[in-house]
Point group: C3
Chain length 314, copies 3
């Protein structure tokens, strides 16, 4: 049996990880994937109970975590929305979590308020996994994005990775950029000027001595190894005319992808709307649906790491 050495109890924030931590997560995910292929997963977390606490609805993320727990043989108690009559009666998150600690061995939390998962982690002696807290962090999404890059293209070192779309408000992008700073990544940021990467992130990259390019031209993705595409949301624009002018220039479709000779890996956190056409779906580089599947693998690994589970040897 193998137990990975992982120094964290909770998964709260993509800033908490060192490169060594990321290596451990990637290795644990690979281990879990191999066990899955051998039908030997079921039983790893038998008898363990996960509380799936979605104070805010996020069906995709919830089902991904619940699938991960089931695949490992664990059990789940779930609540969606502020159904907690106790919360509507004025109960604090602290008290709610003390109750959950009495019921479950680990808790996954989605909450509309930034910082909630940190408060939750401070209240209890069971591991907490942040499944998104408001404008804050969504670290498991960033980890599954990283795993997807590694699985499909190898480690990000020396890779040219484009980020496309709303780089200003995109929580997903901010978390992934942070993880990629642990590698010798070459960043290419493609966005309307209004939605460019915030100065705080640019400053951090500069302070780390990391080179990055910024452009409004979508064609810049053509010579990248990976293109991480995100939505441009109309509500983010102060001026509707700006949105109308820009939205059609950020559409990745089959013709646009074929115009490049470089096999750029296409990622998207989903859901997509118009920025990524369905005519791309059957291209071999369209990895976004595989990305969703890898999410279950990465979450299985995180559940095992946080619960310090012993994994059968390969």
């Amino acid at each position: 049996m193998k137990r990975f050495d992982f120094p964290h109890t909770h998964i709260i924030d993509s800033h908490q990880f060192s490169r060594e931590d990321l290596n451990t997560i990637l290795a644990a995910t690979e281990h879990v994937v191999r066990l899955k292929e051998q039908n030997r997963l079921f039983g790893v977390l038998e008898g363990r109970l996960m509380a799936s606490l979605f104070f805010e609805s996020s069906t995709r993320t919830r089902l991904s975590f619940e699938a991960a727990m089931h695949r490992l043989g664990g059990r789940i108690i779930t609540t969606v929305g502020f159904q907690f009559s106790s919360i509507s009666k004025g109960e604090t998150l602290y008290d709610t979590m003390k109750m959950i600690e009495a019921y479950a061995d680990i808790a996954v939390i989605r909450h509309p308020v930034e910082g909630s998962s940190r408060i939750a982690a401070g209240a209890v002696n069971i591991p907490i996994i942040n499944a998104g807290d408001g404008a804050g962090q969504h670290p498991t999404q960033a980890l599954l994005d990283l795993y997807t890059i590694v699985r499909e293209r190898g480690l990000p070192d020396k890779k040219r990775i484009a980020f496309i779309g709303d780089l200003k408000f995109g929580r997903t992008i901010h978390s992934l950029v942070k993880l990629l700073t642990h590698y010798e990544t070459e960043f290419v940021f493609i966005s309307p000027v209004d939605l460019a990467l915030p100065e705080s992130y640019r400053k951090e990259l500069r302070s780390l001595g990391i080179h990055f390019e910024e452009t409004e031209d979508l064609k810049a993705m053509w010579d990248c190894d990976v293109a991480y595409i995100t939505r441009i949301q109309e509500e983010r624009f102060a001026d509707r005319a700006d949105y109308e002018r820009l939205k059609d220039s950020y559409v990745v479709n089959r013709a646009f992808v074929q115009a490049s000779r470089h096999p750029t890996l296409l990622l998207h956190p989903l859901p997509r709307v118009n920025e990524l056409s369905t005519d791309v779906d059957d291209m071999p580089n369209a990895a976004y649906f595989r990305q969703a599947a890898y999410g279950v693998d990465v979450r299985m690994a995180l559940l095992c790491l946080c619960l310090q589970a012993e994994l059968p040897d390969l």
Copy 2:
């Protein structure tokens, strides 16, 4: 170990089945029932994950499918309603299903829009079971109705089967009639003229050379082997006065049932309101609650068939 030979991946529509398919489903259900009696079911689908996707609430059907999966040792991820934040953001059913395919081994779908389950089946490589799509099909209800008839009275050949109530809009009835055309069933359709079987169905029966009777008189059920009773919904009548005039003439109560010497088997898809009195409940021919229980058995068989599960020999 036994694996039934079943040519379908998905359960979409009662029109998809041949008589041979129905034989297989009936045989697989019998097999599963015997295993259940021997407490040998648990483990048949161990490690398999079912997505229970109820875009429209239907608690009865959902719990029946989920009970079936649990009894077989499988696991379940569930979502009820259009909680999918991604759908509210404009995600298509196609994309939603590509995500579900990444999580689960089989999906049960209830959706308000006719044809949804066919779209879902086209999107993925996992089996899809239609649990009702709008005015369209609800094939597993028809299959459990058929199984109930067979289990309680034997094969429908040469059986006189009455359909009572709203034959015009009754989705359940249309699906069951379709299945029964594979047998030498004698059909008796009992309804207000306004709610008679649609001409398309009558035409199909005639083209198949199947004899059927139509009447407004509820007493016609007295010489039938089976009476399939359904609700007459007020909202189906153009004229409220017609509803008031007719609703009391379609009430099956104890006195009415006792007035017949023939032991007509009483079925009802439930829920009932006034058309079927509670004073009938303890009569031996009142099979509608057993029918609900058989629903779990049939759905267990369908899950096994679609997943090509191996069943222990008896």
Copy 3:
């Protein structure tokens, strides 16, 4: 293997239990707790299916029951709210329960209408556990309160137990008082006069020859072995001024607790608001979060007793 001798099929009402029954429940809970410590619980209810029917939301109670069933290896089908489309179509609770009986081996019911769980129990041949029905009973809360007292301080005989807060409407308190009448408990009722214990309960205590004290003074808890603290809800007061005058005199905080030399055990059914300060939480006598955890233990025992499960010997 051990099967406890328990004469009840259903858990409906705290009035149903004799002292012998309570002994059995306490012993079964101890047994279950020991098995849990030895990691030998999982499998006790393998293959059994619990319907978790919360017609009214009560996340705390629901998750506690579901955690209990999972810990025993059982499975769960859940519904929250009047999602039952069948009920919205006019289905009776009787019919709903006949359906549930066809699906599950045991049902836990929370319902806004008093007496619902008794109706449910009358409809079916599977055990029913009342998880709260309107202003009526919530017997499993009372049983877990009793278990907490016994586990932390021994049997209630000769113990001085204070009840604090809203004694007039507090369902939890009424049920627990009833259970404690089976012991030589010394009752101290502390409440605003307006929220005093109803005359019917006082009469019952007198008729049983049980001594009790009543006071408005919170300091009366200082010489008690146990203080059961509850909320005073503003909406219970006819006069808002009365509420404003009284609410601050019923606040148990650290300074107040430290002013007593007696190690009074502090219980609270939770959720709390202001009546119990968070600065008490880390005092050794603050047992309310442990009380929540014991709730899972007691519910595990009740599930085993109602299902007549065989428990492995210790």
